[in-house]
Symmetry: none
Subunit: 216 residues, 4 copies
DNA sequence: GATGAATGAGATTTCATTCAT
DNA sequence: AATGAATGAAATCTCATTCAT
């Protein structure tokens, strides 16, 4: 490359730099429009080295998705203490989620938008992480429901739907917080909890929303 | 094309065919990976004609986004009667939303995923529609809040956050319903209302979720 | 291309020009070292047009081999009259063969050398032509043998071997004539006939070469 | 390489391993398609060592051709005893030739096919060996001719042509024997001798094939 | 004697786009 | 209203080769 960057570093470190660069460039231009040239330049290496280490553009993208998904998942997992009550677990996880997405907006873009728009191979990778999140939320809802006297009102399929709704709300708020000045991660987290838990709480108490008569 | 397709049709109809083809191909492969060749072939016309009518790939995509956004917006608007109470308006709009996304999965993919992952020009188009949805929801929440005795508890910024959360939940459930066998649009709609309105209802009653002491 | 070449010609003619150029360039540098850039330039078109018409480098090479093989086969077939005696048929075919290889040295190089040195896909194409030649020669030898009183001495496997030997001798002489000043195609043809037919004639008469005693 | 291979061996042996690997890989993929990476890996060494010992891909290929040519030439030379009569010398040489090509198919492929299809530098190397073979055969034919009363009928140019034919026949039969099940080297050798010597023998006796009147 | 780290150059291939009719 | 012919530009990827140790 000829510039002043440090050279000859161990493979692991170079790989990390390449993934950093790839996440940034892919977040900026989108996966297909991102060029290996730009990624290599931002990483401070030549293209062949990127191919030598990461094998192909597809593999590079997959590696990005996996790394970012693992980091986000780990951040949430580390924040949750299973001994606490369900709502407190959710609160801790939600806070960690918003903190992470705020600190790693490019990674979040790659996970939330890019990984889901470029074919089944990558969608599958992203779905694996989403499934983990969904499982976590589903577990919480189910355990909360069991402690409530009205649990019979919530069939499994609906619980999964509620989990999807909660996760979608979280994703949307993360984007909103990342692109709106003056909205902090803790604020987004509080809004989500208000929105979600109060609603879920009502459901636990057997208070369903009253469907207008005569509608499916 | 030389095959047996009908030729010499009026411009408006040809344009519609081209947009149909573009939406389908873009939903399948993603915008950048979609090729004008494939779009032209699926539309049953030659490439120069596509350029003559739609001008460029960017313009074609923009036209797709606008058309799909207008159709979805219109479907929701048509279903809502402003004379009814807020929760009923929301219910009608939500039902129309899920019905539309279920019937036009390619259009929904283009709007929800493709339009948001290929640079600011298209994101802006999609955001315009999202803003319309947000405004609708925000108005509903605000009007409901005004009827409640605890409205002062909900500042404008939080109302916007709640709207983002609700819309994100709706988007997530639309994807879920479209990709999960056995989940119908009405079921997704009901799940969303349960999740959202009960929660919002609690908020209207002044029942916020109790933030654990000492946390941001 | 910008140069003074004629433009906008019908597809069939352009394809022929491309194959001409490809045969010439491949004969000169070898298949792998031949670049699509050079082929396109020699054909007077841009690279994308070569790909549009011939699809890939592999397919282009295959098309070259097929065209050259068909032309050579046809030249030999046209020269042979099955009503004549076997040695006369062979003489006519051999003359046509050397005349063709002398007039189309690049095509001959592609068939004889390039097609056989770049993987099974192309070898198979070349072998198809070689098999046709072998079949022709084998038929001649067999029919000559049947007219002779000593035909029992020649098992089928050996006849095939003799055909392979004759064809190898012809190929070698074709290369020799093409690369040696002062050797004309008719001279090479005569040399081959002397070498081959007299030897075959002896075999027909039952005069095998006397294998030294005690050797396999 | 990090695996369990033996290390630190004397240069000559390492070089032999590299040439072995190169011959195998080049025979398999062709010279241009053969990669230094694959050769180094098959040799069990790192690429820089290959360059240290063999200097460049071209030089490596040249070294392969020279080694294989020398080995084949030596095998034939060792089998021939100049004190014996010409046909016996030829028989011994031919046997050695087919035995060698059968035992070293990769080397034979490199010599016969690869060395002749990748530009003048390598063709020259292969031609040097071919010239040696031709000289040997030419000498035999000439010496046989001198012992015969009809020698004046064979001018030098035709003798060289006959030698080219014989060598081409031998090459073709070697390929045929190597790729056809059930054909052994001795069988191929016998077929060649029958084909060649009987024919040559006839020529020695003044029996030329009768060119049809009126043809060149 | 031997190798991990790194690259300049160039290969094939694809794409959005236009011209001439 | 419509298309066959054609291309400039740029993408991904591979390769022979070298440096520093």
């Amino acid at each position: 490359m000829g510039d002043g960057r440090t050279k000859r570093m161990p493979r692991a470190e170079r790989e990390r730099q390449m993934l950093d660069a790839a996440v940034e460039v892919i977040a900026r231009h989108g996966y297909t429009a991102a060029s290996m040239d730009e990624i290599a330049e931002l990483a401070g290496v030549s293209k062949p080295l990127v191919y030598l280490y990461l094998n192909s553009k597809d593999d590079l993208f997959t590696a990005c998705i996996r790394r970012e998904a693992a980091a986000l998942t780990e951040a949430v997992r580390a924040a949750v203490r299973p001994c606490l009550p369900a709502d407190r677990q959710l609160w801790d996880g939600v806070q960690a989620f918003f903190a992470y997405t705020a600190e790693h907006p490019d990674g979040w873009t790659v996970l939330h938008l890019q990984a889901r728009t470029h074919g089944p191979r990558f969608t599958a990778e992203a779905d694996a992480m989403r499934a983990e999140m969904t499982a976590f939320v589903t577990r919480l809802i189910a355990s909360a429901a069991q402690e409530s006297p009205h649990s019979r009102d919530l069939p499994a399929a609906e619980i999964e739907g509620l989990a999807m709704a909660l996760i979608g709300a979280a994703e949307s708020l993360a984007d909103w917080a990342n692109t709106t000045d003056g909205i902090t991660a803790p604020q987004a987290a509080a809004t989500l909890m208000n929105f979600a838990w109060s609603g879920l709480g009502d459901l636990m108490s057997g208070n369903r929303w009253a469907t207008p008569v005569g509608l499916a």
